[in-house]
Amino acid sequence: MKMTISLFLILFTAFSANSQGYKVGDNAEDFKLLNVDGKYVQMADYEDAKGFIVIFTCNHCPYSVAYEDRINLLDRRFSQEGYPVIAVNPNDSLIQPQDSYSKMIVRAREKSFSFPYLLDASQEVFKTYGATRTPHVYILNKENKELVVRYIGAIDNNYEDGGAATEKYVESAIENLKMGELPEPDFTKAIGCTIKVKKS
């Protein structure tokens, strides 16, 4: 029995490594990653959450930096409503030293991040999710104990000026989910920094 499970896991892992990551409607896997406070965080710890705003982001990327204040606001608003932000830095710090764990701690303190800022040290989480750039958002909704991907994409449609954004994709998506509706649009694109992958 154990053998079968391991075999299944191996097959599943191999399959997910080859796939292009999650699409809207897929069930997302939980992860357990190191936070800037030295503790490990997993989504299973949030028993009361209705879902999550998972954001792949980092220190160095100007697009990520431009969105830091907006990410703080999203968390302050939506964590009270059951949809906390969980930020994940997917970058290899050997390639981009500004994205090291110690610099993440500094940034989280400087910007008073109200949300966990986790390091994807093995770079497996971003690959499983299929993130390609920073920032890259995945909204997960708890449905029958599964975490279902309900939105993938940008935070809003103006990286330079949140006040000038005419579409606030993440806000609208959460409002939809709260009312039991599916987000529309559920997939958007934005310019971002490539994820810095460890050289093998």
Partner: protein, 161 residues
């Protein structure tokens, strides 16, 4: 005398800065789009980059070499910067000057990426660097970096006589 000299220097610097900024156009997507759809014998290399994007900056010297190598052929290179509009004067122009870029540089200012990324190529997620190489009979889009050898072979194999 000192002031006179300083004025000359300032004038010189100002003229130089103006001449560089005059070469770099700021375009929106509507004005940029025709450059993705030329239907002629020229092979276009359109590289999306930004001064803050380390992998983009790293491959620029290879793009510059390629541009020098093919500039007398039916060939046109565009380095399309996605820098923020507010860093046009403070980052982009100084970068182009310092690195003596010869290929044509544009600043594409269109912050709503979702409205235009698919119109460049539906396979593009929006990460940079990304490069489109095309002529009327050929089109290849690549998200990620290119080596000199890769660029050279794609262009050599598709260049029109």
């Amino acid at each position: 005398m000192k002031i006179g000299f300083l004025s000359v220097v300032l004038l010189f610097v100002a003229t130089f800065a103006l001449s560089v900024s005059a070469q770099i156009k700021v375009v929106n997507f509507k004005n940029f789009k025709p450059l993705l759809e030329k239907n002629n014998d020229t092979t276009y290399v359109i590289n999306f980059w930004a001064t803050w994007c380390a992998p983009c900056v790293k491959e620029l010297p290879d793009f510059e070499s390629i541009n020098q190598q093919f500039k007398d052929k039916k060939f046109k290179m565009l380095l399309v910067s996605l820098d923020f509009r507010k860093s046009f004067e403070t980052r982009l122009i100084p970068f182009v000057e310092q690195n003596k870029l010869k290929a044509e540089v544009l600043l594409l200012h269109e912050p709503d990426g979702n409205s235009w990324i698919d119109l460049v190529d539906t396979n593009w997620s929006g990460a940079i660097p990304a490069t489109l190489i095309y002529n009327k009979d050929f089109r290849v889009f690549h998200e990620g970096g290119y080596t000199y050898q890769e660029l050279n072979s794609i262009i050599t194999n598709n260049l029109k006589p």
